[in-house]
Symmetry: C2
Subunit: 334 residues, 2 copies
């Protein structure tokens, strides 16, 4: 592990950490397909390859980081159980991964988390504690509970093992592209706290060192875009709202931003409306269920925010945990 | 190719034809994942592995048979173009496969085919001719046009190369199960004309000779069930209706029934309502879009028609081309 240049306490994960994570999750996580539709390609004027992480266990990429994180704990520490805070996808991921290791999990979740995410987290066997997303600090609540119970916190993005776990998606993208003789012209990845795009950026460092990588954020939650522009971690306005519930982190993580500011070419913004359009297109052309936050990278291409102009682009679809009513609303656009 | 025992003119495909088909489609068709949800497993009391052929090119398994069929034609014959008749999935598959070979395709489709299936068939570049599903013979219309144009008919199910192409799904199921150390207790496959289940039955003959294989049909379209029971090919009542538009063939094929009567353990019936429930469950737990006909094998398990009792079962989800309104209707059950 390298030491971050800003003197931060935690060490930055490396490409090798991603490779080790891939070994840990092998046989436990789904190797998700890279999907494509010739009709969609024609519509966007290029080649759009969608990494379908909505087909991952628990319905999002978060399972990779959670599993890697818990697997990397010593047996004694792991036995004390885990605590996490999450809007829903990391919650389900930690709950399911903890269940696989047979250790208790407690998840601090926002009161307004989508109902299926809450229900599934409990169904995987985790205890849940609810908090107010806009007035309380989930980190503080989780730290208090973890200290009381002598349990370990599994951070949703700003942890080397979480980032390395998410990065395994990048290794798969590289292998899947190589198998088809493809070198993508860009890789687009949705971004909340930045763990997914940071992990993928690490993983692509060796196979695709020159391929531009972009973060994609919902309008109003463009903290990574503004942080990249200014070189300093920025925070979102507390009054900002978006249907992309999976991407509503207040600011980039320390570790994730340290990686992203070095590796990312830039960040793109899409509207909620464009995310809904992308969900509808993913339904019709790829026959997958994308949640709003999961669809923003596809949305960046479909909306013309990132014009293809004949290029080949990989867009990561990060998750598919969405309320049926909202999904039906997206389908009304077809 | 073996000769059918009933003295029929066409030869029955064999396991080796399926292996040859796998070679032909390699790199052209998607190797679809075998998906699983621990929450769904708990709900059904066993292990349900879903072969997600809705993620196949053109949104259904039909691409495999169509591509294999067209690839197996001599270049001279292929250059004359292809004609097909189909309720929609085979239509899109033949249109897309023909486009890959750069040859013209004309598809005879029912007037009441789902709008996206019609639109996509045309978008893949095929010419379409509409007919009335309940009063006209699509086979006669197609044969007339093919004779006029000196084009080749690509039959939707009753052809050795079509059956062999669909059978490649069985080879993948066997390899995917083997990789996870699984021997399934049963394999459930939706059934219209019977090409998909016949092909899979051929493919599983060697890796899983003792695993029971069941056809699953919509109520009112249980021609294969009644044919297996009586030993003679039966026909569905002309007044029968179902939302499972992909499975509305009037009777089993000659070749498909010859294979299915030897290899299948039985056939199961599910209602339209049970198919809608299965579509909703596939949305919520697997994050995939299943069309009604594509969901009947999952429906057989979810409805208790085929109780798991702790067993491990593979259900093939054959396609995901469904009108948004009908999909939203299914989601209202959640």
């Amino acid at each position: 592990l390298a030491t971050p240049t800003d003197g931060g306490a935690a060490a930055l994960p490396t490409y090798d950490d991603v490779v080790r994570a891939a070994d840990r999750i092998e046989g436990h996580a789904v190797r998700t397909p890279l999907l494509e539709s010739s009709l969609l390609n024609r519509a966007v004027g290029g080649r759009l390859l969608v990494k379908a992480e909505n087909l991952q266990k628990t319905g999002s990429f978060k399972f990779r980081g959670a599993y890697n994180n818990i697997a990397a704990l010593s047996e004694g520490v792991r036995a004390g159980g885990v605590v996490a805070y999450s809007s829903g996808n990391h919650a389900q991921a930690v709950a399911a991964a903890a269940a696989l290791f047979g250790v208790p999990a407690l998840i601090v979740m926002p009161k307004d988390a989508p109902a299926p995410k809450l229900a599934n987290t409990r169904a995987y066997g985790a205890e849940t504690v609810l908090y107010d997303r806009y007035s309380e600090s989930r980190e503080e609540i989780a730290q208090e509970i973890a200290a009381e119970r002598r349990a370990t916190i599994v951070p949703p993005y700003d942890h080397p093992m979480t980032i390395a776990g998410q990065g395994t998606i990048g290794l798969e993208i590289a292998a899947q592209c190589a198998a088809d003789g493809i070198v993508p012209d860009a890789v687009l990845v949705c971004c909340g706290g930045g763990g997914l795009v940071a992990g993928i950026a690490l993983a692509l460092e060796r196979p695709f060192p020159k391929v531009p990588i972009y973060a994609v954020e919902p309008e109003g939650f463009d903290d990574t875009a503004r942080s990249l522009e200014t070189g300093v971690r920025q925070t979102n306005a507390p009054e900002a709202r978006s249907i992309c519930d999976a991407l509503l982190s207040p600011s980039p993580g320390e570790l994730t931003f340290e990686i992203n500011r070095r590796r990312l070419t830039g960040a793109l913004r899409v509207s909620d409306d464009q995310a809904l359009e992308a969900m509808a297109a993913a339904f019709a052309h790829l026959r997958i269920v994308a949640e709003p936050g999961g669809a923003v990278a596809i949305a960046a291409v479909l909306s013309g925010t990132f014009p293809l102009d004949g290029r080949t682009v990989v867009a990561v679809c990060s998750g598919g945990n969405v309320e049926p009513g909202l999904f039906s609303q997206a389908l009304e656009r077809l």
